[in-house]
């Protein structure tokens, strides 16, 4: 059987400076996969290269085809929405104006799916960070994608909002079989909610099942000597440096 996503010898350079070097991995089956690494490690670049948003060297195949050919089966939630928040655009208008037609899921269905059904008449600029990310997720879900790419989709969202967001992602994966590839800095959330992990630091440091691949040694390779596991209840939860405050652990 063809792998779901195949990345071979991927390298990306910006003005001659390497952002990713010779990264190769495959994703065989539906799962929630996290991409982690320190700032500047190439996480967002990896996502953008897969989606064809930056030029790259190497080979990337999604569902055994070049990504541009399967874009309708792909959903994407960007790290930041480069949109003027004072512009008067309602949630419903945003989704209607920006979706491909005909969408497979009704607009209200997509909003209900992410718990934003009652916000369809609200202005985009009046939403909180968490609500906006949910709307972007609803937008990404309109065409029932087989794979979702999330680029630090929970950055700037409070702890409760993050938990809700990850629960929604988990439900989409379990109930609808959507594969999720997400960049995240929230190591404890990654540990709790993801099945597999890709650890980057310009090149591939480690990848595999989250619980086995995310070791203290890998964390130290990525984040330095201060990163470690922290005992929490009955479980050891990995911590990146400075992440000890305010994170909710399982």
């Amino acid at each position: 059987m063809d792998p779901l996503l195949e990345v071979k010898g991927l390298s990306v350079r910006f003005a001659g400076i390497p952002a990713l070097e010779n990264v190769s991995f495959t994703i065989e089956k539906e799962a929630i996969i996290a991409v982690i690494g320190p700032n500047g490690s190439g996480k967002t670049t990896l996502l953008k290269a897969i989606l064809g948003l930056v030029p790259y060297e190497g080979e990337i195949r999604l569902f055994a085809r070049p990504v541009r050919q399967v874009l309708p089966q792909v959903g994407y939630v960007p790290q930041r929405f480069a949109f003027d928040p004072s512009f008067p655009l309602t949630v419903e208008e945003f989704i209607n104006l920006t979706c491909r037609t005909p969408e497979k899921l009704p607009v209200h269905g997509a909003l209900d799916e992410v718990g934003m059904g009652e916000f369809k008449g609200k202005l985009i600029g009046e939403l909180s960070g968490g609500q906006l990310q949910r709307v972007l997720l609803a937008h990404a879900l309109l065409h029932r994608p087989r794979i979702l790419f999330l680029d630090e989709a929970t950055s700037g969202i409070d702890i409760e909002g993050q938990g809700d967001f990850y629960s929604t992602i988990q439900r989409l994966n379990r109930e609808h079989g959507v594969t999720v590839l997400m960049v995240s800095h929230e190591i404890s959330m990654v540990y709790k909610f993801t099945d597999r992990i890709i650890c980057l630091n310009r090149d591939l440091v480690s990848h595999g099942e989250t619980r086995s691949a995310l070791t203290a040694e890998v964390l130290r390779k990525l984040y330095g000597e201060n990163a470690d596991f922290k005992a929490h209840g009955h479980e050891a939860v990995p911590q990146r440096p400075g992440a000890g405050h305010g994170e909710r652990h399982g």
Binding site: P88, L89, F94, L97
Partner: protein, 301 residues
């Protein structure tokens, strides 16, 4: 230069009705209404993409195109159209290929175009009334062939916008999301630049290179003060532009003032009034005595 006024004296009973029967006034109002729709609607994309400086730059640089037309005795409007479309494509290309910021590129091309226009016009001996016309506009001097060209091109541009509204909106909102939706962002960006340059040159006949950006920016900025949806914004933008245009042309005629400037000042006055109105409404809405919630919380005596 205004056409000679064989019109009735303002203030007489049928002054308005008779004024509207004058061919030059009919052409002026028709051109104004068509360009009001076109420029104000394009203004939505311009403000969303923060392209106000691009619009101003292209309009100013179009003077060189008009000057080439005047010098070669070719149509100044057509030569300005061709020149500004080439310039818009050049801005786009330089934005992609050079390390300079968009503002710097537009700044260089805008001043160069304007300077070239002044030099070319100075090559013609004697007083240059056309120069004043292109600098400040002269809607009352629009000829039938100008009106036909303006209407045909405006219809084509509006049709383009209607067909590509979703793509242009998504591109204006977020380039990456546009890519992901299968839109070719480079192609549609270039088209928007060219279409915008074309619309601006058409608008120069009314407001001139110095004032034309006002019609692009002011109506949409006024509508943004109170609109609560994109749909409402689009309707209010166009309605405000049409009102501004009509009121501006008629006021300028009756007050015997330069038409382009009066149109711009009418739009600015409307913006100021609505800005103050919205600010006062928000102030009173926040005032404890006017707050519905507070009123509801007051004990019943």
């Amino acid at each position: 230069m205004k056409p000679s006024r064989s019109a009735p004296a303002p203030g007489t009973g049928n002054a308005m009705a008779e004024l509207l029967q004058l061919p030059f006034m009919q052409r002026a109002l028709l051109a104004g209404l068509v360009l009001g729709v076109l420029l104000s609607y394009l203004g939505i994309f311009v403000t969303l993409r923060r392209m106000a400086f691009f619009s101003d730059g292209i309009a100013h640089a179009a003077l060189a195109g008009a000057a080439i037309g005047l010098l070669t005795r070719f149509s100044p409007l057509l030569s300005a159209l061709a020149f500004s479309m080439v310039l818009a494509a050049m801005v786009y290309w330089l934005e992609k290929k050079s390390p300079l910021s968009s503002d710097a590129i537009i700044g260089i091309l805008f001043t160069s175009g304007m300077a070239l226009g002044v030099v070319l016009i100075s090559l013609r001996p004697g007083y240059q009334p056309e120069l004043i016309g292109y600098l400040f506009g002269n809607i009352l001097a629009i000829r039938l062939q100008d009106l036909a060209l303006i209407t045909a091109l405006a219809a084509a541009i509006l049709a383009f916008i209607a067909v590509n509204k979703r793509k242009l909106t998504l591109l204006a909102l977020d380039r990456e999301m546009a890519c992901m939706a299968g839109i070719n962002p480079d192609f549609y960006e270039l088209l928007l630049y060219i279409v915008l340059a074309c619309a601006l040159v058409l608008g120069i006949r009314i407001l001139g290179v110095i004032l034309v950006s006002a019609l692009l920016i002011t109506p949409v900025s006024t509508a943004r003060l109170f609109s609560r949806s994109f749909r409402a914004l689009a309707w209010w933008t166009v309605l405000l532009a049409e009102f501004t245009m009509l009121a501006g042309v008629l006021l300028s005629y009756f007050l015997d003032l330069p038409t382009g400037a009066v149109i711009v000042l009418t739009g600015s006055a409307l913006f100021s009034l609505i800005f103050i109105g919205v600010a006062l409404r928000q102030r009173f809405a926040r005032h404890p005595a006017c707050s519905k919630e507070k009123k509801a919380q007051r004990p019943v005596r």
